[in-house]
């Protein structure tokens, strides 16, 4: 599904991503973990085309997307939700979602119909239901609870009907209860859509709770990858997390 | 150190200004406060910003004349009611104020006390409405000289650039002869008035003293605070003479700054707008021997009437009249004359009464000290134009020589013909 070959990126001599190679299977949930500054978010930026890699290649379904920009990768089926909630604070949930759907259909250049009359309601309803936002339909985004804002962020990504969904710390800034609600939501969503998901997360309970495959990133490189139970036992990983190995 | 004795004068001006503020406040509700058969005069002018001085000296003069008229019983009991409004020196605002006068206040006459740019805007409004309009400030020749801009119902009571230019050139020619001046420079404000003034002066000078050399021009922006770049140019070119139509605060700043370069030591300076009290008072050290036209000075024309005018104005407002004051005064004199003659406010009749009319005036140099509204272009002639040299103290100007109106009108005609305007 997603294939990354020898991806490298450095900023002013500091290597942010160094020689990452990975391949995601279709319809799986995958996690990227690693200490602060390991280059997780940079990796996402490289996949979506927000940043351009120095070397290496990225493919999605065997089509190369290495040098496409953000708008183009979305058309290739990649969507992302952000670490810091990235929504439209003054628009309602429904408006935001409709906008995302319309932009997918290049519908935003239309000046001659009413936005309100746009017949994307079925699709929008479906996505709101999927994200559990139906109740909040007419609430201004900035007035949503933090968890719902995160859900809206994910919902916006879903509007693009992506093949690959990138989630950057979906539970950041949430209380314990809210976290599990969020995880249930993501699980359910995955069950219904079977989108391939790659997510970054710090909460290990969550990572081990839902990921089918885990990639451990350190200093921009992949330290280990594998099924959760293998990763748990991996000596390199234990060292990285419990100290000593940190360079 | 330099003496400063302007406290009292400033205070008086300030009080006068506040008075006007209050007066114009009540003027805002004329229909409620005043009787209906009044003769209404709308005065669009500039009361705020850096040329507020213009509006104040004009309205002072108008009020002085109107009050006298009203006290004497008006026109068979009908009194003149003034409505004065500020256009903030914006042409579109002047047009709006004028439309308001005509449409809402139903004024009988407009006495336009706007500077040139806004005067053209006023001209367009009154051209459409047909309201009688008396221009009192704009000196731009084309306002009445250009037949495509002229209007049957508009009269000019202000100086005209071409008249001044010819008068100035004639005077300059004499000085050229006396002092052997060859090289000229001109420093004029970078706007229509300045450019016109530059054009016409040198055109006329060519007629009286051909063979001079114009070695450079400076075009400071209007209200420019710093003239260094222009002055260094003069200091470098070392002209024998400079012609300038800068005025007001700009002229003051220019003279202050140019003095630092010692410009006036070896160069004859011809400033057409210098001899106005406001300007001369404001110059720190008025250099001796600058040449200036008499904008308004009590000493010229050297007549009883003129001194009386100065005295009555000064008694009322604590300050001398300005160039704008006398222009407005004459306009009102003319208007009152016409009102009395026609006995009403019919604009067509009033216009007829104004056309070609000669009346005696303190600024008049026509036969028997009269001024005339010329029939052809409805503009004032035979007003006093004099040139003299400055001295640092009152009366500020001496050795005044009067311009000859025959010479002026002859050359004016030639100039207009060249322009294709007659």
């Amino acid at each position: 599904m997603l294939k990354i070959n020898n991806l490298e990126k450095s900023f002013g001599g500091i290597i942010a991503t160094g020689n990452v190679t990975l391949e995601l299977q279709k319809q799986t949930i995958n996690a990227v973990i690693g200490p602060n500054g390991a280059g997780k978010t940079t990796l996402f930026n490289l996949i979506t085309g927000k940043l351009k890699p120095d070397t290496g290649k990225v493919f999605i379904e065997n089509k190369e997307i290495t040098n496409l920009d953000e708008t183009e990768t979305t058309q290739m089926g990649i969507a992302r939700a952000f670490q810091i909630t990235n929504i439209f604070p003054n628009l309602t949930v429904y408006e935001s979602i409709k906008l995302a759907i319309l932009s997918k259909h290049n519908g935003l250049n239309n000046m001659w119909t009413r936005f309100k009359d746009h017949n994307v309601n079925y699709e929008a309803d479906k996505i709101m239901k999927l994200a559990g936002l139906t109740k909040s339909k007419n609430i201004i985004s900035s007035e949503l609870s933090h968890g719902d804002q995160k859900l809206l962020d994910i919902a916006l990504a879903l509007c693009l009907k992506p093949k690959l969904l990138l989630l950057d710390e979906p539970t950041a800034g949430m209380g314990p209860e809210e976290r599990w609600k969020m995880i249930d939501r993501i699980k359910e969503l995955w069950k219904k859509t079977k989108i391939t998901i790659l997510f970054i997360e710090h909460d290990m309970d969550i990572v081990f709770g839902i990921a089918q495959k885990i990639y451990v990133l350190q200093q921009g490189a992949i330290l280990a990858e594998g099924r959760p139970k293998d990763i748990k036992k991996d000596q390199k990983v234990i060292k990285a997390y419990l100290g000593g190995g940190k360079k | 150190m330099i003496k400063r004795n302007k406290h009292t004068r400033r205070t008086v001006i300030k009080n006068a200004a506040l008075g006007i503020g209050a007066l114009s406040f009540s003027a805002g509700f004329p229909s409620i406060l005043k009787a209906d058969d009044n003769i209404k005069i709308g005065v669009p002018t500039i009361l705020s910003g850096r040329v507020a001085q213009l509006g104040i000296s004009v309205t002072n003069a108008i009020k002085m004349a109107v009050n006298k008229f009203n006290e004497e019983g008006g026109l068979d009991g009908r009194k003149i009611e003034l409505i004065i409004r500020d256009s903030r020196a914006k042409p579109d605002e002047a047009a709006r104020v004028c439309r308001d006068f005509i449409n809402s206040d139903n004024v009988d006459v407009i006495v336009n006390a706007e500077a040139s740019g806004a005067s053209f805007a006023v001209q367009e409004v009154i051209r459409e409405s047909g309201t009688l309009c008396l221009h009192t400030v704009s000196e731009t020749t084309s306002l009445t000289a250009d037949p495509s801009i002229r209007a049957w119902n508009a009269f000019r009571f202000s100086r005209q650039g071409i008249h001044d230019a010819v008068g100035s050139a004639k005077y300059a020619a004499k000085i050229i002869e006396k002092k052997g001046i060859k090289k000229w420079m001109s420093i004029n404000p970078d706007y229509a008035y300045g450019r016109d003034s530059d054009d016409t002066f040198f055109w006329a000078l060519e007629k009286f003293a051909p063979g001079f050399e114009l070695i450079g021009k400076g075009w400071p922006k209007i209200f420019q605070p710093d003239y260094t770049e222009v002055i260094t140019k003069i200091a470098r070119e070392k002209p024998d003479a400079i012609y300038s139509s800068l005025w007001g605060g700009d002229l003051v700043s220019f003279i202050d700054q140019a003095s630092l370069y010692g410009i006036f030591k070896n160069t004859e300076f011809f400033a057409i707008n210098l001899a106005d009290y406001t300007t001369m008072n404001a110059i720190r050290n008025l250099p001796k021997g600058l040449h200036s036209a008499t904008r308004y000075v009590a000493a010229w024309p050297d007549t009883e009437e003129n001194r009386a005018y100065d005295k009555s104005y000064t008694d009322l407002y604590g300050d001398h009249p300005t160039n704008w004051s006398w222009e407005a005064s004459i306009a009102i004199d003319y208007l009152i004359n016409a009102l009395k003659e026609t006995g009403g406010t019919d604009n067509k009749k009033l216009a007829e009464a104004l056309k070609g009319k000669t009346i005696p005036s303190f600024m008049g140099v026509g036969e028997g000290n009269t001024v005339t509204i010329r029939d052809r272009d409805q503009t004032i002639t035979n007003y006093s134009i004099g040139w003299g040299t400055t001295i640092p103290k009152e009366p500020f100007i001496q050795d005044v020589q009067a311009a000859n109106w025959d010479t002026i009108e002859n050359l004016e005609e030639e100039w207009l013909t060249n322009k294709g305007w007659i």
């Binding site: 973990i33 200490p35 602060n36 500054g37 909630t85 900035s142 609870s145 933090h146 804002q149 710390e169 950041a172 800034g173 949430m174 209380g175 314990p176 976290r179 710090h202 909460d203 290990m204 990572v207 081990f208 990763i231 748990k232 990983v237 234990i238 997390y241 419990l242 100290g243 000593g244 190995g245 940190k246 360079k247 | -």
Partner: protein, 235 residues
């Protein structure tokens, strides 16, 4: 009596809550490690104490004096010394100028951190004193950031991930520095995810997880307690 007493604080970044009824007790002259995974709330705890992020309820006392409601600078003046994770040295100022910026005129000059003492403690920085801070390496910047805060004679030093992103040799330098500070009697709270580093420098530890403090005790104890470690720190 504890030097710093944090009781039931709830802190927020805009609308998102980051600390949930967090409580801490730090006693004087100790080096204490604040452990927890990424995103557990270590940095947020520090920022809540310094006043950088909004604390809606609870209390924060230093030496018995309530800090809640005070501005960031007055908390610093009361003795909170904060060394941020990303060091935040002033890049256009020299090393010495940076240190001088940390000076403040508080009366309780317990440890008397004047420039001389700082150069004694940080000989490396003395050699670089006229260099612009922006040109220093990460480790040097970390040293500078600590020195700068010390120049203000804090009662307590909050060190946020001092070893992060540094080469092992530099980390060792930092370890030595902390040892040195311990001997002088500086109270330090170190936020770390690197357990190994903490074992070397701290005697006591507090573990926080998901915005709450969940465990406290001595480092030795923690070293033995595999269950706790696995639950909160390991993968």
């Amino acid at each position: 009596m504890s030097l710093l007493e944090v009781k039931n604080i709830n802190a927020f970044y805009d609308s998102s809550q980051v600390l949930f009824n967090m409580s801490l007790n730090i006693s004087k002259n100790k080096i204490i490690a604040l452990l927890g995974r990424n995103g557990a709330g270590k940095s947020s705890t520090f920022k809540a104490i310094t006043g950088i992020i909004k604390v809606k309820s609870g209390s924060i006392k230093l030496d018995g004096k309530e800090l809640m409601g005070n501005s960031i600078n007055s908390r610093a003046k009361s003795g909170i010394g904060y060394v941020p994770e990303d060091r935040q040295v002033f890049p256009e100022h020299t090393v010495e100028e940076n240190i001088n910026l940390g000076k403040k005129n508080n009366l309780k000059n317990i440890n008397n951190w004047d420039l001389e003492k700082i150069w004694d403690t940080f000989p490396l920085l003395k050699n670089l004193r006229f260099r612009l801070a922006g040109q220093l390496s990460g480790g040097e910047q970390q040293m500078l950031s600590i020195a700068r805060t010390l120049a203000g004679n804090p009662e307590i030093l909050l060190l946020d991930e001092p070893s992060e992103g540094l080469a092992p040799i530099i980390v060792e330098e930092i370890e030595k520095l902390i040892d040195k500070l311990e001997k002088i009697g500086v109270t330090i709270l170190i936020a770390e995810q690197n357990m190994h580093f903490c074992m070397k420098v701290a005697k006591e530890a507090i573990i926080i997880d998901k915005g709450q403090s969940v465990w406290s005790g001595s480092i030795k104890e923690l070293n033995k307690d595999k269950k706790t470690r696995d639950k909160y720190l390991a993968i």
